[in-house]
Amino acid sequence: MAEGRGLGAEEIEFLRTSYREYYYRASASLWIPHHLESREIGFLTFDGYFRRHLRANSPGEFTTSILREVPWGVFYSVSLYEDPENPEMDRKGWMGADIAFDIDVKDLHPQCIDEHDFLICGDGSVHALADGSPGCRRVDWVCPNCVEVGRREVLKLLDVLQRDLGMRPDAISIYFSGHRGFHLHVEDEELLDIGREARAQIVDYLTLSSYNPGLAEGFLRTSGAYLDTLVGWPRRIADALRRRYGISPTLDALAAVTRGNVDAAIEAAASEVRVRVDPQVTMDVSRIFRLPTSLNEKTGMMKLRCDDIVTCDPLSDAVAIGEEPVKVEISYAPKLHLGGYVYGPFKLTTMRLPAFVAAFLISKGVAKVVK
């Protein structure tokens, strides 16, 4: 992993030192999962190895192991197991799992991604995403627009989870992933034991992946007076159609206003309504998930809890590494909004930057430490 990003020994050492400082500073406030002793713990090491099937019997033991190992990434299972250390997944003794959702901004396809993501090829040349050739490495970037697009999707997700599926607001926690996405955890003892098929149904409801226009038509086949009684995604589709066409969207009215093209109109509304979560993350209860308050190896930023998703400012608040200046040689970097300031864009330059910016650029494999 380190090799893929071209990180040398000096860069690894810089990151490890920065991570160590952070974890010492944050040791008293590290987030500890409830039922810790029943979770599988995983560490991504700075050597690029994933050590899974670890167990911590107490918060003290957990924090101590993080301080001792200084991992590049810290993960925990959303599942609770009788024997979390057992390397055989089907022998761990599954007891239940939190429900986790992952919104990756890349899956939402905002235009900014094409503008700031880029490819670095073997000869060090930089290319736009569309101009790539085999052997080039993609570098994902993050900008305020990425955060806004992700935030909007989180708000959609929250609305469905609370209003339709009746999940308790106090059981839901929202996190910025530390890179370019949001995680949403539902920790409700009542819902711990729902199985994989049930989770798949929840994902299907959110993403409308098995939906078809005929299903929506079944709900819209009513008189205008009853449209207001719709609930769930059919209500959202009706609202979207109402906004789009300025009519009360019964099937008859839709047929008239779309000149018979009802399916396409409903499809467009469904596309607006569906919540784009990563299906695998929610369904696969054997996964391990990034620990809130731990640092993300892709950026050096922390996975940040957003108590208020509307006002949360991750690109400032998730900065966790110090500000002391570090001299780095940067090959290429688009504009970077971090810690309340804007850095770059950079191309073949050497300069001093705050450690948290240096850590971001080094983690992305576009900068080297200059001694």
């Binding site: 729902i194 098929e197 149904q201 769930g232």
Partner: protein
């Protein structure tokens, strides 16, 4: 609802409840298992033997056979049938019996609903609350073009529906609001089946039959023999394909199927399309599903032939890996490399493929056509 108690007539339809046992005691039928054998000529004994046989061999219970019997006799016939099935110590027989009994109850509830909707609703809500421990609440709520009779909490709905065909029972097809799933009485009645079957299965497994009287043991061994004669054999010895060359997703599902697990519809559909497209003979595909507790050979054969294009003229392709991932059926391991379809699994080289079979595909084509396949069997 906990204050509501079932009347004698209702207990006749709920013979697996402890209260049903109390009723037969009160009516003077308290007897041990050995005493049952001493009363071998009682009509309820004959009814019990028939009940076990028609459930396990035929996959259903003839409602006519029990109509007109007093509730205590219906309960006793269940006890006799359950003892015989328990004595087979055969998981398949027990599951199949439990499922047939659950279907029978569902039919009885549906009859009540058709005769008197309010009466049927009361019975249904009582069964949900008292038997399943799931509050089913009367709602009479209009949502869009429909009026729904009852609502059930999301978690309970998911637990009852997750083994059913998602294209009909998935929550995306339902009116869902505030963590409640709204249903008509008929759907709530159908949804009972998997929950009730589980309860009956547990009830039978908890029966202790240390000293089984001769007649009961004879019935059990007769039932096992009849099962062996009528039930298609599992495909292990018949299939022309080395199963170790199947992808891990298929191997894992076959293992679950053979252990007698009731697989979700999506899993059955995938297994059938895979085997058909891998060139497994129709008979062997049908036989592979024979261990499913709700197996019905006629319906399974029809559906497998439909998938194979023998009926309906359109052959179904195997769902892609991404589709299987979305359905939670992917069991990808390092042997899969980067394949996009289970049909491209490296170990599959050399497996005969019939004309035009295989390939990735999946996607919406399958989804659209899937509604032609009913949810119960395969």
């Amino acid at each position: 609802m906990s204050g509501v108690s079932f009347g004698a007539e209702e207990l006749g339809d709920l013979p697996f409840l402890p209260e049903a046992g109390d009723l037969i005691m009160r009516r003077g039928y308290a007897m041990s298992i050995s005493e049952l054998a001493e009363n071998w000529n009682e009509p309820f004994i004959r009814a019990g033997i028939d009940r076990a046989r028609s459930a396990v061999i035929g996959g259903g219970i003839d409602p006519g056979a029990l109509d007109g019997m007093p509730p205590e006799h219906r309960i006793l016939s269940f006890v006799v049938a359950a003892l015989i099935v328990r004595a087979t110590d055969n998981q398949y027989a027990i599951r199949r019996f439990a499922l047939a009994e659950a279907r029978y109850l569902e039919d009885r509830v549906m009859r009540r609903i058709r005769t008197n909707a309010e009466d049927g609703r009361l019975l249904l809500t009582a069964i949900y609350s008292r038997v399943l421990g799931m509050p089913l609440v009367a709602s009479a709520r209009r949502i869009g073009g429909q009026v729904f009779d009852v609502r059930l909490g999301l978690k309970h709905y998911l637990s009852l529906s997750s083994s059913l065909d998602a294209s009909r029972w998935g929550i995306v097809t339902r009116a869902v609001d505030g963590g409640q799933v709204y249903m008509k009485l008929e759907d709530a009645s159908r949804l009972l089946r998997s929950g009730i079957a589980g309860i009956i299965e547990n009830r039978i497994m908890s029966m202790k039959i240390a000293d089984l009287p001769g007649p009961l043991a004879e019935e059990a061994s007769g039932l096992l023999k009849e099962m062996a004669r009528t039930r298609p054999s599992a495909p292990a010895g018949n299939a022309p394909i080395d199963r170790s060359r199947y992808p891990p997703c298929v191997r894992s599902l076959l293992k679950r199927l053979e252990s007698g697990e009731n697989l979700p519809h999506s899993a059955r559909f995938f297994l059938a399309t895979f085997m058909v497209n891998a060139g497994v003979p129709i008979d062997d595909v049908v036989a592979a599903f024979s261990r499913s507790p709700d197996f019905n050979e006629r319906i399974t054969r029809y559906q497998v032939e439909h998938i194979a294009g023998i009926k309906g003229g359109k052959r179904y392709s195997v769902p892609s890996c991404s589709k299987l991932e979305a359905q939670g059926l992917c069991a990808r391991d390092e042997t899969c490399n980067d394949i996009r379809s289970p049909m491209s699994y490296p170990g599959r080289r050399g497996i005969p493929r019939p004309d035009g079979g295989g390939g990735g595909g999946g996607g919406t084509g399958i989804r659209r056509r899937r509604d032609r396949i009913s949810e119960d069997e395969l």
